[in-house]
Symmetry: C2
Subunit: 394 residues, 2 copies
């Protein structure tokens, strides 16, 4: 039986896009995954997490395996809030909602704020999984360009002015990966951060700050937008995925209580007690400052390897960003259709993410691609870049 | 700043109800929780799960802590499908979606099927957390009464006939806890199951079967609705919460591929790799048949204790159900307002869930309450029932 006739219109709209993750074809075995925006395997403290489980069960018995009742689970929000407070955010005890990774936090914020007619503004390019989330709520998405200083706030302002003048819809929500952007690696400058907050006030929108990479700075760390937010317009989203382990699925949102309450209603009360308790137990016993410092150093070294390889290998005309943190380099190969080229690259043994998938609209980014230096060791980074250069030269 | 003005209408509607879980006041320490619909603490195999984590990390290292890549994680759906196949369901390999507990499966089914104008049919009384989920999608809910044989399918049919005759909306989805219902403990009889499936065909609705307790039968097990479903109208939802551990948050939905695909789009690709891998590792090493048999025996003993206590203690006029499985007894105390009585009961040292919270509409169930025999040991069950009887007698 065809069940699709039971779907309401909003569901048909969501299903009109390619399914999540379909921007990446299945990868042949052995291919060098410059596409993989994952933490490198050894960065994940598997033994320490296994020990945390052992200590947790020794201390709490069956409690972490029930719906509620684990004292460690109850401590997690406070542990996460303390880490954010150290980064300049004011977080009230009831001002942090623990979520299943940053993705659930983005989904809940979208669910609480976006009706089918609402407009959401994104960076162009932007994180494609966020696009997938927004598309599930509204078909109205507008993108604003990014340069080496992040979102081009002056172009945003021009468009907002024009929209207001013409009586066109203004965005209700603006989504930004302000620090070490996915996919460009750009950092929104401090002056643009301040201007963006002013625009939110003038044009009455909220800012969804995805801070997935904010801690992984190779130099002085950027100030989170939420730390500059005096009016409650910023929803700050982060996770332990990049600094501890993605598979635990621990994320959070920091926002005004009224919004967090609405998000909590949709999330309901069924959290992930075991994962929460493990995360809390782990965080209680680790020197996170030292750990994050070591991660910064490791990612910086990988970035250096990739940039040196790009410089050495790439043909003339190809350009790329030089990120000061995070996981990604954004490369432009003028005249090349990077989506059409991908099968040849895979055949040659290297994978990347074609640029077009980071844009809401068809058109831009076709000669761009995203490379990750986060996942692979030096030799593979070097070999992958060399293979890619060879494919681009053909 | 008041962020609620940013909420779309559907969100305002969802927020017009009391927040999830607010049907239960904070419990004073030491109170006997006949309210707690949880598995009893010793039923959770904490040591075995901790061992599963150890073995998993020994075998797979960091893999279970990443987004993807754990071979155990990839095995989970097949392990769960095999258990359902043994219960008579036909489950194609792509016909099972692993979810974060049954609650996420219910939420995703509602999200894929219910627009703001759609009607959803529920049992009256029904599981209040399902009501909380449906209310997040539609304000249109209709309840049909339950007796000792479960949903009164004849009354459902009468109303469907009347609705069709009068051109009134027909339900798009009917939600049922067909086996050992929450809160009454009733089992939908086989003849009613067959009739319900016929009605779904005649009146063109889908059935959301919440099988949370289906395995915990004290006698011959009921046949899942999905096992009788030849037309693809049943969405079967279950979880490991009652037979392994709620805190792992492992649930599933079995349905037609087109519907599961839609649910997967909203769920996205960010699953709970660590919890999945731990569950798979645990399931691979345990004799689940023996385990479930032991659980059936343990819950049956608790049920017997509660029924004997009720018989011994309750004043004349009070009646209750005699469940053949699951966790719950539904008690009626004619003339008593069980919600108004709760503070006195808590003061006396015993907690229950007032009956009114299991109904969508105000009115019915005010003289009813739900008792759980699942969570507490015999002595506490006996003492709790005695305290409740005393309060009811006053």
């Amino acid at each position: 039986m065809d069940l699709t006739r039971f779907f309401p219109p909003a569901v048909h709209n969501a299903l009109s896009y390619p399914p999540p993750g379909s921007w990446m074809p299945p990868l042949p075995p052995g291919v060098i995954r410059l596409s993989a925006g994952y933490p490198f395997p050894e960065s994940v403290p598997a033994e320490d997490l296994a020990r945390a489980v052992r200590d947790l069960v020794a201390a709490e018995g069956d409690l972490p395996f029930h719906y509620l009742g684990s004292p460690s689970m109850q401590r997690l929000a406070a542990l996460l809030a303390a880490r954010l407070t150290a980064r300049g955010l004011r977080v009230a005890p009831e001002g942090l909602l623990v979520t299943a990774g940053a993705a659930q936090a983005l989904d809940l914020a979208a669910r609480a704020l976006l009706g089918p007619e609402d407009l959401v503004a994104v960076e162009a390019p932007t994180y494609m999984e966020a696009l997938e989330i927004f598309r599930n709520y509204t078909a109205h998405i507008v993108g604003y360009p990014v340069d080496e200083e992040g979102l081009q706030v002056d172009l945003l302002e021009e468009d907002l002015q024009r929209r207001r003048r013409k009586g066109k819809p203004l965005p209700r929500l603006l989504y930004t990966v302000a620090s070490f952007q996915n996919p460009t690696g750009a950092v929104l400058s401090l002056s643009r951060r301040r201007r963006l907050l002013e625009l939110a006030e003038t044009y009455d929108f909220l800012i969804l700050e995805d801070d997935a990479y904010g801690e992984l700075s190779f130099g002085p760390p950027p100030v989170p937008l939420k730390a500059l937010d005096t009016r409650g317009r910023v929803i700050h989203v982060g996770s332990l995925s990049k600094v501890v382990a993605p598979g635990l699925r621990i994320g959070w949102a920091v926002a005004e209580p009224a919004l967090l309450s609405a998000m909590a209603v949709f999330k309901k009360d069924l959290d992930h007690p075991f994962a929460w308790a493990v995360a809390a137990q782990y965080l209680s016993g680790v020197d996170m400052e030292a750990r994050v410092a070591a991660l910064r150093k490791a990612y910086r070294e990988r970035r250096d390897v990739m940039l040196a390889s790009l410089k050495r290998e790439m043909p003339a005309g190809v350009s790329w960003t030089e990120p000061r943190g995070g996981f990604f380099v954004w490369l432009r190969a003028p005249g090349v259709d990077t989506a059409a080229l991908l099968p040849r690259a895979l055949e040659a043994g290297v994978a990347y993410v074609p640029g077009k998938y980071f844009f809401f609209e068809e058109g831009p980014g076709q000669d761009c691609l995203r490379l990750s230096f986060s996942y692979l060791p030096s030799e593979a980074l070097q070999e992958g870049v060399a293979l890619l250069a060879k494919v681009l030269r053909q």
